[in-house]
C-alpha cells in the first residue's frame, strides 16, 4: 500500500449492533484500514449509542423493514439525512465507501448528498424484484455518481447488471484466514460429524432441512452426529426434534474463535443448508479456510462462492433428500472428501483480508485520481443556501 494516509468514510446501512454479514465486513475493513494508519470514520444506524467503538458515528436508531426475505434494520428520513450531511461536511473525507447503496438507507442518502470519489459495494444477490424495478429510474442518477462499483460475488454482480444496468468489479468479502489455518482436531467433534455454525433458530438458516435429512443419513451412517454452534435457545429447538434423534444432536452455544478453528478442522462435513437471504456466505469462506469439506444449498451466493461446486458440494436448496444423498456420498468416500477440503482450503486464501483489502485499496486509489476530496453535492449546497444554512 502507498505511504499516503487517507481520510476514509465508510457508510454501513444496517444497524451496527445487530448481527449480519455486511456489518462484520464493514467493521473488519474499518479496523484493517485503521491498523494501516488511515483515518476511518463509519456512519451507521446504532441502537445503543454507549456501546460503539470510537470510529463509529451514530446516524440514529434503525427501523425494521422486511427486505430480501429477511428483516433489515435500516434508517432513512429527513433527520437521518441531515445527520448524513453533517457527517460528510465535518469528516473532510478524501473518499467515501458506501455499502449497499441501492437500498433505501443512509448509504443511498450519503450517495445522494456527496460529491467526489465515491466507491460503492453491492452485497445483495437477489432475483429480480418488482420494488427495485419501480424505483430504478430514481435510483439511476444516484448510483451513477459512484466512481467505482464493487460486487462481493458473481451473483451480486449479476443482480447489479440486471437491476441497474451497470457493471462492477468483483472483490469478495474478507476473512482472517490465518485464524483458521491451524485448528487442532478434537476427538469429541471428529468422526462422522456434521457441523453447523449460525443462528439456528432462524428458519432461513435451514437447520430444519438438515433435521429432515438426518433420518435418511442415519440409515446409512448409523453413528452420524450433528454439532451445532451459535447463539440461540437450544431448549426450544430441541423440542422440535424427533425424540429418536435427540442423542445425535449437540449444541455448543456461542464458541470462541479458537474453538471455531478447531471445530472446522474436526468435523467431517460442514453443512450450510440456508434457504436464502444470504448475501455472501462468509461462514463458508471461513469453513473452507478451516479445512472443512463443505456441503451447501445451491442459493446464488453459495454457488458463486463455491465456484459452482468446485470447492464444496452443492445440493438443491430445501430438498432434504438431495442433502442426504450428497452427505452420505461424501461420508462414505473419504478420499473424495479430503480432496474437496484440500482444494477448498487453498482456494479460501483469496478471501484473506491481506488480499481483499489490497484490492479494495487499489480501487480507492483509482477513484481518487484527479479529485479534491468529498464535498456536499451542488444540489445540496443550493438547497442549504436557500434554507439559510451553511453548507460547507
Amino acid at each position: 500500500m502507498t505511504l499516503k494516509k487517507l481520510r476514509i468514510g465508510l457508510v454501513c446501512p444496517y444497524g451496527w449492533d445487530t448481527p449480519g454479514g455486511v456489518q462484520n465486513h464493514v467493521r473488519d475493513l474499518a479496523e484493517y484500514l485503521i491498523a494501516k494508519g488511515h483515518y476511518v470514520s463509519v456512519l451507521a444506524p446504532v441502537i445503543d449509542e454507549n456501546a460503539i467503538p470510537d470510529y463509529v458515528t451514530s446516524a440514529g436508531k434503525p427501523i425494521s423493514i422486511p427486505y430480501n426475505g429477511a428483516v433489515a434494520r435500516v434508517l432513512f428520513g429527513p433527520i437521518a439525512f441531515s445527520r448524513v450531511r453533517h457527517w460528510i461536511t465535518n469528516g473532510k473525507f478524501d473518499l467515501l465507501h458506501l455499502h449497499e447503496p441501492a437500498i433505501p438507507s443512509i448509504s443511498l442518502l450519503a450517495c445522494w448528498a456527496a460529491e467526489g470519489p465515491l466507491v460503492g459495494t453491492f452485497h445483495a444477490a437477489a432475483k429480480r424484484q418488482k420494488a427495485i424495478f419501480a424505483i430504478g429510474p430514481i435510483l439511476e442518477p444516484v448510483i451513477e455518481k459512484l466512481s467505482a462499483r464493487i460486487a462481493v460475488s458473481e451473483a451480486a454482480r449479476e443482480t447489479l447488471t440486471e437491476h441497474l444496468q451497470t457493471d462492477a468489479v468483483v472483490v469478495p468479502n474478507g476473512i482472517y484466514a490465518d485464524r483458521y489455518r491451524d485448528g487442532e482436531v478434537r476427538a469429541q467433534w471428529s468422526g462422522n460429524t456434521l457441523g453447523f455454525i449460525g443462528r439456528f433458530e432462524e428458519p432461513r438458516k435451514g437447520l430444519s432441512v438438515l433435521l429432515e435429512a438426518l433420518p435418511i443419513i442415519a440409515r446409512f451412517a448409523p453413528d452420524v452426529r450433528v454439532i451445532v454452534a451459535g447463539p440461540g435457545d437450544s431448549k426450544d429447538f430441541e423440542d422440535q426434534i424427533d425424540p429418536q434423534l435427540h442423542h445425535r444432536f449437540e449444541f455448543l452455544g456461542r464458541i470462541s474463535e479458537k474453538d471455531k478453528a478447531d471445530f472446522l478442522s474436526s468435523v467431517a462435513l460442514y453443512i450450510a443448508p440456508n434457504t436464502g437471504g444470504e448475501s455472501f456466505g462468509i461462514i463458508l469462506a471461513e469453513a473452507l479456510a478451516g479445512g472443512a469439506a463443505v456441503v451447501a444449498s445451491d442459493i446464488p451466493a453459495f454457488v458463486s462462492l463455491l465456484g459452482n461446486g468446485e470447492y464444496g458440494a452443492l445440493f438443491e436448496s430445501e430438498n432434504p433428500q438431495e442433502l442426504a444423498k450428497v452427505v452420505i456420498d461424501l461420508l462414505r468416500e473419504k478420499d473424495k472428501r479430503l480432496s474437496l477440503a484440500r482444494r477448498g482450503k487453498e482456494y479460501a486464501q483469496r478471501f484473506d483480508w491481506d488480499v481483499v483489502a489490497e484490492n479494495i485499496f487499489s480501487i480507492y486509489e483509482m477513484a481518487l485520481v484527479g479529485s479534491n476530496g468529498i464535498s456536499l453535492s451542488s444540489e445540496n449546497r443550493a438547497w442549504n443556501r436557500f434554507l439559510g444554512r451553511e453548507g460547507d
Binding site: 460529491e115 451513477e144 467505482a148 462499483r149 462492477a168 468489479v169 487499489s362 483509482m366 485520481v369
Partner: protein, 167 residues
C-alpha cells in the same frame, strides 16, 4: 388564476429538472475524464515497464525489438489509435511471458511482478472507464438531453476497446 399557478409550478419544476439533468450529465463527463486519466496513467506506466523488460535479460533480441516497437507505438498513439496500439503491446508482452521459461535475477522478477500488478489494475481501470462511457452514452441518448442539448459542445465519449483477454 389557478391555471397560472399550476403553469408556474410546472415551469419551475421543468427548469429544476433541466438543471438537475445537466448537473447529472456534467458529473458523468467528469467521471469519463477522471477514469480515462487513471487508465492513461496506468497504461503509460505499463509501456515504461515494457521498455525496461525489453532492455533486461528476460527478452531475447528479437522479442526485445518487437516489445520496444510496440511500447513506443503505444506511447505515441493518438486517442483514436490508442486502444489498438495498447492491444499490440499486450500481445507482444503475452508472446514473451507465455513462453513459460524461468526468469532468474531479482531485478527481472521485480519487473515481472510490477507488470502483473499493473495488469490487474489496468483490468479494473478499463472496467471503470468503460462503465462511465457507456453510462454517458446511454444518458445522452435520452430525448430530454438531446432536445435541450444538455451536453453542450462536449464530445461524445468513445468506447475504449481493449481486448481484455489479451491482458
Amino acid at each position: 388564476m389557478e391555471r397560472y399557478f399550476f403553469l408556474v409550478l410546472f415551469v419551475i419544476f421543468a427548469l429544476w429538472y433541466l438543471s438537475y439533468s445537466a448537473t447529472r450529465l456534467d458529473r458523468l463527463h467528469h467521471r469519463v475524464e477522471t477514469s480515462w486519466a487513471n487508465l492513461d496513467g496506468l497504461l503509460q506506466r505499463r509501456a515504461a515497464v515494457a521498455l525496461e523488460i525489453a532492455k533486461s535479460d528476460i527478452a531475447d533480441p528479437a522479442s526485445s525489438l518487437l516489445l520496444t516497437a510496440a511500447a513506443h507505438q503505444a506511447r505515441d498513439a493518438q486517442m483514436k489509435t490508442r486502444s489498438q496500439a495498447e492491444s499490440g503491446l499486450s500481445g507482444a508482452l503475452g508472446l514473451l511471458l507465455n513462453d513459460g521459461h524461468l526468469v532468474e535475477g531479482v531485478i527481472e522478477r521485480d519487473l515481472l511482478r510490477e507488470l502483473s500488478e499493473l495488469t490487474d489494475k489496468i483490468r479494473i481501470a478499463i472496467a471503470m472507464h468503460v462503465d462511465a462511457v457507456t453510462r454517458t452514452q446511454m444518458v445522452r441518448a435520452k430525448p430530454v438531453f438531446k432536445i435541450f442539448r444538455l451536453a453542450g459542445r462536449a464530445p461524445l465519449p468513445v468506447t475504449y476497446e481493449f481486448e481484455a483477454d489479451v491482458l
